[in-house]
Amino acid sequence: MTEATIYGLAGLAVFGLGLMGVLGAADRLRRLVALNLCAGGAAMVLVASSWRPPPAAPDPVPHALVITGIVVMVSATAVALALIRRLYSLETDTDA
């Protein structure tokens, strides 16, 4: 049982939990957090695939991919949050 196996499986479990959250959550904010969990899980699988038994150095390509993925995900999160805020303002305006 290597680090790659342990963290890879953990990543898959996190992805699965996120999936559950996206499908099940009724709340906008919670769904977004669940999507972020999915992203974290997928990233973990990618990085686990780059792990090599020491002393070999890990494969740098998945690391670069995951950094890209993190930046992409924070952008998407910010957009979704802006939509949530705007929607909340409009909805409370019309309710009032």
């Binding site: 992805f15 999936l19 996206v22 906008r28 769904r31 977004l32 999507l35 999915c38 992203a39 899980g41 997928a42 699988v45 990618l46 695939s49 494969d59 390509v61 998945p62 991919l65 890209t68 993925g69 992409v72 952008s75 998407a76 957009v79 979704a80 939509l83 949530i84 705007r86 929607l87 409009l90 909805e91 305006d93 019309t94």
Partner: protein, 492 residues
């Protein structure tokens, strides 16, 4: 390697990007910059077309590294057809957008000058992403491109700023993100198995559990993005509540990105078995029926058009499934034709629906026949687009459906023919709901205010819808273009 530099493929991707930057920096000049950028992009695509016509398949190893270390751009007939389609739609929608943002904004929506200022950067970023998807030969790059498309598309979907548009846009965003993340995890599995990210690495790989998992993940993720029944839930509201030019782009182009990547994956990867293809066909059947029924029940014109997108996407999946044992090597052409036909007709139809809504002031189908104002040209465009979507000869839609049924007959798969027929009948039924509204004059109480003069805004929908019908006559050349570079390894 092309002699002149930079090569046209990179330009086709980066020119709209520069346009987006310029349009964002100078919002007042955005329409001018936007149209200029689209024109320049079209020129670059023409150059790509020249190269593809000469050499079949053209590749550019970005950075000079080449696969598997670097990312390669690759163009063949299928990619070229999609690029040309994108340029055509972008040009028409862009011209339509010149006047589309002139009317009154809804009470809870964004003011029109703001919508216009933000339409162009987002539209051009969308084009960057679309061209990037068509030309990419790298799995991770496709994921990044999908995210570029997602964000730009969500921005376009919520451009109107109404509560309904924002709600639909958020649901769209979530569906789109989930789809992209599934693709990302699929890419991870591919890397785990093959240690590469390019399509060529996928082609050489042996089937294995990890690759099956990767394929399943990407299939579900892309089906979510392409709105395949029952993963279509986000589409109707998002497309129906966007402003007309945005709807046209979303419906004609954005959903095609998922479809196109599915086609490319099927081309490169371990071939999806017959069982999977049949499953896709069954889901497509569900989409054709469910989308048709919902379109019959829709109360608003734009919602009807949006539900018809669900049905038409389903038909494309039926086209992929139709050849049975021969698999995709034959049926992809029918799917590609239907993709082109749907894009041209649906862009025209959404622009026409937007014009009708602008002129009449609402788009409730039951009251279309009571309007004293008659946007005759927009109604004509709508009818022409409907002809192509229904699949009457000589339209492009007819050629697509014909190709679908011909293949199904050849393989003895009569059930797919029955599905196509049922879909056609349903589309006749739901489009005629709108068309009868256009034709009836007797319900009008007020004196007819027939002619308000032609507006420039009527031209793009009419041209697009006319093309959707007329391009059927050019089916031969279109098929010849599709076969350039022999996608799917078939000889024409």
């Amino acid at each position: 390697m092309p002699e002149f530099a930079p090569d046209p493929m990179t330009l086709a991707i980066l020119l709209p990007l520069f346009g987006a930057i310029a349009a964002f920096l100078a919002p007042r000049a955005a329409p001018l910059i936007g149209l200029g950028a689209v024109g320049a992009m079209a020129a670059a695509i023409a150059a790509v077309g020249h190269a593809v016509a000469q050499a079949g398949t053209v590749t550019v190893p970005l950075g000079g590294w080449g696969a598997p270390l670097g990312i390669e751009l690759r163009a063949d007939g299928l990619a070229l057809a999609m690029l040309g389609l994108t340029a055509l739609i972008a040009l028409a929608v862009g011209l339509g957008a010149l006047s589309a943002f002139a009317g009154e904004a809804p009470a809870d929506g964004q003011p029109m000058p703001r919508q216009r200022a933000f339409f162009w950067p987002l539209c051009l970023l969308l084009l960057t992403g679309m061209n990037g998807v068509y030309l990419s030969a790298d799995l991770f790059n496709l994921y990044v491109m999908l995210e570029v498309i997602s964000l730009a598309a969500v921005g376009l979907a919520v451009l109107g700023g109404t509560v309904a548009a924002l709600r639909a846009g958020l649901a769209y965003m979530y569906a789109s993100l989930l789809g992209a993340l599934m693709v990302l995890l699929g890419v991870g599995f591919v890397y785990l198995q093959t240690g590469r990210l390019d399509f060529a690495g996928l082609a050489g790989a042996q089937g294995s559990p990890a690759l099956s998992a990767a394929f399943a993940l990407m299939l579900v993720g892309l089906a979510l993005k392409a709105a395949l029944f029952p993963l279509h839930f986000w589409l109707p509201e998002a497309h129906a509540n966007a402003t007309a030019p945005a709807s046209a782009l979303l419906s004609a182009l954005v959903v095609k990105a998922g479809l196109y990547i599915l086609l490319r994956l099927a081309e490169a990867g371990p071939f999806p078995g017959e069982a999977i293809l049949t499953l896709l066909g069954v889901l497509g059947t569900g989409a054709v029926l469910w989308g048709g029924v919902q379109a019959l029940r829709a109360e608003r014109l734009k919602l009807l058009v949006a539900w018809s997108t669900v049905a038409q996407i389903g038909l494309i999946f039926v086209a992929l499934a139709r050849a049975g044992t021969e698999g995709l090597s034959d049926s992809w052409r029918a799917a590609a034709l239907l993709i082109l036909a749907h894009a041209v007709a649906k862009a025209g139809m959404f622009l026409a629906a937007g014009r009708i809504k602008d002129v009449i002031g609402h788009d409730r189908i039951s009251e279309l026949d009571r309007s004293a104002v008659r946007p005759a040209l927009a109604q004509l465009a709508f009818a022409l687009a409907a002809i192509s979507l229904i699949g009457l000869p000589p339209s492009l839609g007819f050629i697509g459906k014909w190709s679908l049924m011909e293949g199904a007959m050849g393989a003895g798969n009569w059930h797919w023919i029955a599905v196509t027929m049922a879909g056609t009948l349903l589309s006749v039924a739901y489009f005629s709901r709108a068309l009868t509204g256009f034709l009836r004059f007797d319900r009008v109480r007020a004196p007819l205010d027939e002619h308000r003069g032609w507006a420039l805004a009527d031209a793009p929908p009419v041209v697009l819808a006319g093309l959707a019908v007329g391009l059927g006559l050019a089916a031969g050349p279109i098929l010849a273009v599709l076969d350039l570079g022999r996608p799917f390894g078939v000889t024409p």
